[in-house]
Structures are given as structure tokens and as C-alpha cells.
Amino acid sequence: MAEVVLKQIVKTFDRQTVIQQLDLTISNGSFTVLVGPSGCGKTTTLRMIAGLETVTEGEIWIGDQKVNDLPPGKRDLAMVFQNYALYPTMTVKENIEFGLKNRKVRKEEREQLIREIAEIVGLSDYLQRKPSTLSGGQRQRVALARAMVKKPKVFLMDEPLSNLDATLRHQMRTELIELHKQLGATFIYVTHDQVEAMSMGDQIVVMDRGRIQQTASPMELYQEPANRFVARFIGTPSMNILTLPDLPGLQLGIRPERVMLIREDGSAFSFHAEWQRTKPDLQRADNPPEGISAEGVILGREVLGAETLYKVQTQLGAFAVKSHSDLLLNQDEKVLVRLRKQDLYFFDAAAGQRVREQDAFARHALEAILSPLTEPAVLGVGGR
């Protein structure tokens, strides 16, 4: 059992508070990712769990033991550092062995463990080398092996992949996920890369300015962000946030991949497939889906290959739009922008908290800005 619980943690450096009343439960065997912008306190949180940093207030529990006063070496956890922090004067083998020796593990047992671990991470041929003669990926593996060999209950990792190139990073991501499954230990993983967070974690903790913004599974985080910060932090490009004069005190959000663009000739562009699917609905004159329509013009585009990003100006404001169509819209081309009601998010303009749809409707005559979304031809924009 190695549940990690942080209770009301506060951390202050020279009177500057960097972690504020943090409560977090990391369940046994989970792969928890701490994610957030630079300086938000991820590393500090991780280091407090490791015991490398003292806590100013609050309690940290690992399993059923309060560890506030336990030195790092006694907490039964291992850490992988961003720059690996290998001991440069020791060989790979000695690096892995160091912690075992300090724990007074017998020699035969040590040899046995090292052989096993080296096999797992694929370092068997490099045991006698010095870290300086290894590649970045190999060093990463040594750092992992050094952590794994202690068979800790909890693994802490601080941006362990950020020094690797894109290909290797991808490969190591999969390997780490595999490893987590194999070991069944608790992983606490820090990154500032939301894509990495989404692809690896089963629980994601989004932090900003020393506070937890939301703790949730990747899908929930994407679909049900708790506030504007999380909504904008998860997903690229960030969610569009619109401030409409008709909605005082509220802001409206829509993800770029959920915006539909329609050409003057009536052919749909972005978000095409989804709209195709709802076509029957659109044609039902009695109860068409509701949403927002606006006319707009293309300000610019970025072709990324599989997808295209557009910047569209409308009377509602400027939008980022992500399209998967192979056809391209041109600069200055006129388009019709349509947003479905079920794709809209509402936020409190001041606090940034998510406002549930029902509440939003209660607070405003939202219907005023919604209109039936019908076939473009009916609107008379296109030709056909």
C-alpha cells in the first residue's frame, strides 16, 4: 500500500508562498501527472514528497506513515531527475549499485538485481561504461534503472524526458507506460507538456500559481474543464474565449476543433464529419439544433499537414479554428462560422470558474444569442 496523501500543504520560500493549501490524494498504483505552466510549483511539490524540501505547513503521508520528518533515503521512494543526476565518477553498474550498497544489500543479491534491471532497461552491455560515454537515451535508462533497482513503492519523475529528442521522447513515453503496468508501483510524474500529461497519466493534476486547478482523468479534463485556466491549458490551440456584450459577467468558450466553417458556396469545411452526421437534424425544420452563427473572414492560416489552423475574424471576435479538411481556404475568403450549443462552455468572467449550462441559462436570456442552425442555403449565404 503506498497511497500518497498531501494534506493542506503550504510551502514558503523567504516569505514568498509558492504552494498554497494543497490537498491531493494519489491512489496506490496510479500514474499521476502534475502539469502546469513554468513556475507553478510542480517541482517543489514533488521535492516535498521526496523529502528534499521541507514543508512549511501541512502533512505528507505515504501509506499509513506520516513522513514529514523522515529523511529522503528512508521514504521508500525513488526519483528520476530531469538532467538524470548520474554520478559521473562511477560506472553504470556502480551508479545502480550505490543505493543498494547503502542499504547493506548482500553482494550476490546486488549482482542478481543489477543483472535483472539491466536486462529490463537494455543496458546489459554498458554496465562498465561511465555515464559521460553514453547517449542521452542511455543515460535516461541508467537513471531509470537506478530508481527501479531499489524496488520503491513510489516513483517520482521530474520532466525525465525533456532532454530527449522528439522520437526518443515518444519511445520512452510508451516504455514508461509499459513499465508502470509491469511494476504496479505508484508513479508521480511532473511535466509542463500537456500532451505528455494526457498521453501518460491516468490521473492528471493541473496546477497554476501554487494551487491545484483540477484533478481528473485525461478525458474528463478535456471534456469537463473546471475553469477557464484548465480549459485553455488542455488542448492545442487553446480554447477560444469570447466576451459578448449580450452576456455580461460571462465568457463563452469553444474549442478550435469544434468550430464549423462554411464556404460561400455552401460546402462545409472544418468539423465536417460531425456535421455530416447531424445533417438529418439540420434538415428537420420543426426542431433544428441550436447554436450561434456569424459571418467571418479568414485572417490567416497555418498548414500543418494533417490539419490546418485558421484565424477567423467575426463580429463575435477572433477565432482560432482547426480543420482536418485537405482543401484549403484562402486569405480574405468570406466564411460562415457556426457553433453548436452543446460545444459551448461558459465561464464566470471574473473568477474564471466554469458555469454550468443550466446556471448560465438561468442567469441570462441565453436564447437571445442562440438561433436555429439550418442548412446554409436556407440562410442564403451560399449559391445553391
Binding site: A50, L52, P71, F81, N83, A85, P88, N102
Partner: protein, 275 residues
């Protein structure tokens, strides 16, 4: 044009030969003199090569006094100093580099002042102090005052500060004690600096004339430089062949080390002074 260029190249080469000669020839002359006879020494114009190479001059010089004692004293003193400086320097440098404690900067400043005070200023009071402790005319008088080196602490602290914090933290997570971190992790990582400083310290104390001269007046505790200088006085006047032969004993070990580790030695003396 290429002609002029070639001429210049040759001129430069000749110039460099000249410069090298000015600095190296005195040693060659010392070497040659060591093997001459008295007749050959007192000849003017000088005779370049000895007629017969009198290797026994070295033996004569060696036998003219207790040179075995001088030699072993020199080795003993230089090595003891080195070991003590290492033992006192590593923990001090580690504390200055890695711990925050009240008065740290103040105490470090104190050691820097020690670095700046040359023995040529303190010798008189230190002599009086050591004679109160009854240590004059013992090897302790030569070793103790140098048993900690501010310069060494300064260099080591620099090296320790460059070790990334994460490596120390990784070791803490590996349950290493502070003592282990210091000796098994930091010291090996500071090896280049230790070599540099070791060479510096050994050469300095092997060569040192001033301190042993002031602190001793008995043969039993004298070091080689004193012995050689006494040779001049005892052999007197023009026995330069014997004096130079004795000189060889003092110079050759250092020249040999210099030959083997020229780069490290130059770094030890030049770069550590600049940085």
C-alpha cells in the same frame, strides 16, 4: 614575396631558439658543471664539456653532509603537508560550498585573509610561538603551520560548488550519508582540481627554503634546499662542480615531474592563479 615570408619564418625560428636557450641553457650549464673537475671549473674562457665525466661529484656532494636525512625530511615534510591539507581542506571546502550557516561568509573571508598573508610577514611571531611550544627544531615546525591551505580550500570550494545539486540529492535518496557524499562523490568529482593543487603544494614545499631556514638550526631536521645552500658555504670559494652536483639532487626530481606532467603543472601554477 614567398621568399620574404620564408626568411621571416626562419628568423622567427632562430629567435625562438634564442629565447628557449636563455631559459634552458643555465640548467644545461649546471648539468655540465656537475661533472667537471676543479681544474675545468676554474678555466677562463670556460671549457664546455668535461674531459672525463666525473659522476663521483654527485657522490661527493651527497657524502659531504647527511643528505639522506635532508632528502627524507624533504619528502616527509612535503607529503605530510599535502595529506594534512587534503584532510583539513576537503571538509572545510565542502561546508563552505554546500552548507548555509551563520557566519559562513565571515569565516570564509577569514580564510581568504590567511591566503593573502605571506609567511615572510609572519615568520618572526610564528617562530616565537613555536619555540614556546617547544616545536622549533622538529619537523612539526615545518609541517603544522602549513597543515591547512587557504588556497586549496578556495580551489576545492569552487569545484564543489559546480557539482549539480541534483547529484547530491540523488545520493541522499540513495541513503548516502553526508560523509559518503563528501568523500565518495564530491572528492572523486573534484579530481582535476585535487591533482592541480597537489602538484602545486608539493612543488612549493619541496622547493621551500625560507621556512625551514628560519625554523631549524639542526642538521637532523633540515631539508634538502638548506642542505644544498650549506654546501656552498662548506665547500667554499670555487668548488662549483660540487655545489652544482648537489643542486642536481634538488632540481632533478622537479624537472622530472615537470617533464611528465607539464600540462597539469602549468595549469596548477598559471590557471589556478588567474581564475
Amino acid at each position: 614575396m614567398p621568399h620574404v615570408h620564408k626568411m621571416l619564418k626562419w628568423l622567427e625560428l632562430a629567435g625562438m631558439m634564442m629565447v628557449a636557450l636563455i631559459f634552458v641553457f643555465p640548467f644545461v650549464w649546471m648539468f655540465l658543471t656537475s661533472f667537471k673537475s676543479l681544474q675545468e671549473v676554474i678555466q677562463f674562457p670556460p671549457q664546455w664539456l668535461p674531459e672525463t665525466w666525473l659522476w663521483e661529484n654527485v657522490v661527493k656532494a651527497w657524502d659531504s653532509g647527511p643528505f639522506l636525512t635532508y632528502f627524507s625530511n624533504s619528502v616527509l615534510v612535503a607529503l605530510s603537508i599535502l595529506i594534512l591539507q587534503f584532510l583539513t581542506g576537503v571538509p572545510a571546502a565542502y561546508a563552505f560550498a554546500r552548507y548555509r550557516f551563520k557566519g559562513r561568509n565571515w569565516l570564509f573571508g577569514l580564510s581568504l585573509i590567511a591566503l593573502m598573508i605571506p609567511p615572510q610577514i609572519t615568520f618572526l611571531p610564528v617562530f616565537l610561538e613555536l619555540s614556546q611550544w617547544k616545536l622549533i627544531n622538529t619537523l612539526w615546525a615545518l609541517i603544522l603551520p602549513y597543515s591547512a591551505s587557504a588556497f586549496g580550500i578556495f580551489l576545492l570550494r569552487q569545484a564543489f560548488m559546480q557539482v549539480p545539486e541534483e547529484i547530491v540529492e540523488a545520493a541522499r535518496l540513495d541513503q548516502a550519508s553526508e560523509w559518503q557524499i563528501m568523500w565518495n562523490l564530491m572528492v572523486p568529482m573534484a579530481r582535476p582540481v585535487l591533482v592541480t593543487f597537489g602538484l602545486f603544494s608539493f612543488i612549493y614545499h619541496w622547493n621551500d627554503y625560507f621556512w625551514p631556514l628560519v625554523m631549524t638550526n639542526q642538521e637532523l631536521v633540515r631539508t634538502l634546499p638548506i642542505g644544498i645552500a650549506m654546501l656552498k658555504q662548506s665547500e667554499g670559494g670555487v668548488a662549483w662542480h660540487i655545489v652544482m652536483a648537489g643542486n642536481l639532487i634538488l632540481v632533478l626530481p622537479i624537472l622530472l615531474i615537470f617533464f611528465l606532467a607539464q600540462r597539469q603543472i602549468i595549469r596548477a601554477f598559471v590557471y589556478s592563479g588567474v581564475k
